[in-house]
Symmetry: C2
Subunit: 323 residues, 2 copies
């Protein structure tokens, strides 16, 4: 395949594995990159900038293909030394970073100075336009289908991607609801130059999560995710499980806020859930793309199949209808 994304990032397929807390380790990132996509090591999954540097080295030992690092800056209970993480990424020699969660302005000089290509992920066209003006090289638009934080505009990718394509000149990734060759073909049709995919990569052989989680993803359908934290105006899309349904019940109670349900939301609890192999234990991010997950392939099997399916769609369905 050839798009502005494959050209700019030096990868075979225009498919990026978005940053995923606790999952974006060297095993996941290298598997995606070895399969022809772009894998990302998630910076904040590592306990310190020094640990991140070691994880990047470990990933480098597992692939000779390009990979990147995700740095997500969201409000967090403990003060995170974001600048130190950014400096570590710049010093590591990694040439691609994905920023997300907030305005990336203060980190841009750090990355630019080191010649790092910046993918900024955001949930609204106006934020993408701002990030482009600030010098970001790629905009990854996260539609309302996305796992994790979808923003507050609630615009799905069917509309968000063409609107973004009308306003953004740099290469564009469609993120959210991406699961197979149909997603890839549709994203290209809507004006994107590639896709960002997360939840689907959790259900691969190489994803460093317990089999019970992969089976839970496989068993769920397109209704298998719910939005929690709408009551505090910080919506987050997570797997529909015991923990998230409990949160929704707590949120119904008048006056209930983060202190009442925060202990059930991701972070440390998420890590423990993965370690215990209990997919009901914490509210972990996932999207409606669950409806498109029907097996647990290797990353290479998944990406080869997606691209072949998208090519087949272009050759048959699209050509038969349109040409």
């Amino acid at each position: 395949m050839k798009t502005r994304i494959t050209e700019l990032l030096g990868i075979k397929y225009p498919i990026v594995c978005g940053g995923m807390a606790w999952i974006g380790r060297a095993e996941m990132a290298s598997a995606v990159s070895n399969a022809g996509g772009l894998g990302l090591v998630t910076a904040l999954t590592q306990p310190s900038p020094e640990a991140l540097l070691k994880e990047i080295e470990r990933c480098r030992g597992m692939t000779d293909k390009p990979f990147g690092v995700n740095l997500t800056f969201t409000p967090r209970p403990n003060k995170v030394p974001y600048e130190a993480y950014a400096e570590a990424i710049a010093a590591s020699g990694v040439k691609i970073v994905e920023t997300a969660g907030n305005n990336p302005e203060r980190f841009i000089p750090i990355f630019k100075k080191a010649g790092v290509t910046i993918i900024h992920k955001c949930t609204a066209v106006r934020h993408g336009v701002s990030a482009e003006k600030l010098g970001c090289d790629v905009i990854s638009m996260d539609g309302w289908e996305c796992a994790g934080s979808p923003g507050r505009d609630e615009v799905g990718n069917m509309v968000l991607i063409p609107c973004a394509a009308d306003h953004i000149k740099v290469p564009l990734l469609a993120s959210g609801g991406m699961g197979d060759g149909r997603s890839l073909a549709a994203a290209l049709a809507l004006g994107a130059d590639g896709i960002n995919m997360g939840t689907r990569f959790m259900a691969t052989k190489e994803a460093p999560i317990p089999e019970a989680f992969k089976q839970a993803l496989l068993d769920a359908d397109e209704r298998g995710s719910v939005h929690i934290m709408k009551s505090i105006n910080r919506p987050r899309r997570v797997f529909r499980n015991k923990a998230s349904l409990e949160i929704l019940e707590i949120e119904k109670q008048p006056g209930a806020g983060y202190p009442e349900f925060g202990h059930l939301v991701s972070g440390e609890r998420n890590r423990v859930g993965y370690e215990n192999g209990d997919p009901q234990y914490a509210a972990f991010s996932s999207g409606p793309v669950l409806g498109l997950i029907k097996d647990i392939p290797s990353c290479k099997e998944l990406l080869d199949r997606m691209v072949a399916e998208a090519q087949q769609i272009a050759r048959t369905r699209m050509a038969d209808a349109l040409l």
Copy 2:
């Protein structure tokens, strides 16, 4: 163009204009059908089955192309003689009906007996599967992007359409968020055989609504619609205006229900809003596709352009990336 939809319905382009209260009159329906799509006369916009028969006759005088009738059965304050409307449609000689709003089972024998092709519009894969089993000929899947009633699953079309295509064998229409050639190309890529479009048709020369409404649609962007009535578990996506924002404020008040805001919601008020030319007056249906509306073309200009754009996408963007 040629898909299972164009073949089954005998139309040039696989583009259906969904049923729209107060807008789906002979002027709108005939304009869409004359442009090569499928126009629909909205049954309940007419005050009686007899008036509907006259409106169908009027439409027949305005086009020699196929058109259909929409029959939406939702909870309504006054008892509506749905059976009488269905019998009128069957007796009218119209050969295509769009049912929506609820399980169509009780009307199917009436339509089948008269040789009417049934398009059933629904918001969930399981409802589409049921409707197919009941004998419906086409399923129109309404994603969370759609104007009006999106159901409660909140699954956008990027995921809903491929999931539906995996489970439904009859021809499939993608509905919600459809506004240009990119939407059409993406819908085909995702597995649909055509699209259903509503809001976009409101901003055409022939739409029988005041210019002030068309200008309001043109001025809005992808954030120009809001969901009201979530507080009573009957979400409805409407234009973001004075009326809908007032409803949202009322819904925030503990214990406030339909009696407190119902006077601001569509129905009679909608009709008056159209008559007065005041787009702020009532909460009328529209979708985020507002972000893709940039002019007020004729229906023929719109459809010709959409199909040309989709063809261009298949020939260039898709082919360059994939083939």
